[in-house]
Symmetry: C2
């Protein structure tokens, strides 16, 4: 495997988000966009785009990590409230490197009840609040 | 379990789509919208919305069925071409009954590279073409 290509996080996924945890398969990042509780799960493997590109063991790992992320986001509080719904998606039409969105949604968020992918980028969360959310997430991963 | 609530497919999921297969967990349906190769997977269980609502065995079943649907859509041909990308999503903000979208996308489809959830409803596929796609899918599930 000496000549296997190395994994490198796509800078478009790194931008505007902070590292939360390194799970057995995925890097977990929290977007700074204050409108949503928006996690990204990025499998640390080179050259993945679609689910069928994953090795069998990694398929199992990814699902386990999606389920953990879903539960972690659902238990978070923002402004004293927990999300009303969690959205999970693998799209990757623009940034091809495989990444899974796990997004806590609120009935009063600006995209509700629509999906979040046509709503541009919102204001950044206050760094202290972002830090608290990350600490809370770390306790759940 | 005599008094357990019965499963009933939400009519908003049934509308505009045709039955493809009944898997161990999910009903699989193909939307008639001619713009996309758009499957819906609906777990046949009452009262589910988010992933954490699933019983442990059903979590495993759902992932297996998502992976099968991803592979089935990726192998389909429409107009002599296979999809360039497959999008997978669990959203459920409008229709709360759990359903997973598995959508074959083309570089020249009208929503590319955006997501498909803000693009209304397109013209229906020709019934003969829809029937051929369903036959092809049945051979892969």
């Amino acid at each position: 495997m000496e000549n296997a290509p190395a994994f490198a996080l796509d800078p478009r996924l790194a931008a505007g988000s902070d590292a939360v945890a390194a799970l057995p398969l995925c890097h977990v990042r929290l977007k700074r966009d204050a409108r949503f509780l928006w996690l990204l799960l990025v499998p640390e493997r080179p050259g993945l785009a679609d689910l069928r590109d994953l090795a069998p063991d990694d398929r199992t790992r990814l699902w386990r990590e999606i389920l953990r992320a879903d539960a972690a986001v659902a238990a978070l509080e923002e402004g004293g409230r927990r999300p009303d719904k969690v959205n999970v998606a693998l799209i990757g039409n623009v940034v091809r490197q495989m990444h899974v969105h796990v997004v806590g949604r609120f009935l009063n968020d600006p995209a509700w009840p629509g999906a979040v992918w046509h709503h541009g980028v919102g204001p950044e969360r206050d760094p202290a609040a972002q830090g608290r959310l990350i600490e809370g997430l770390r306790g759940r991963f």
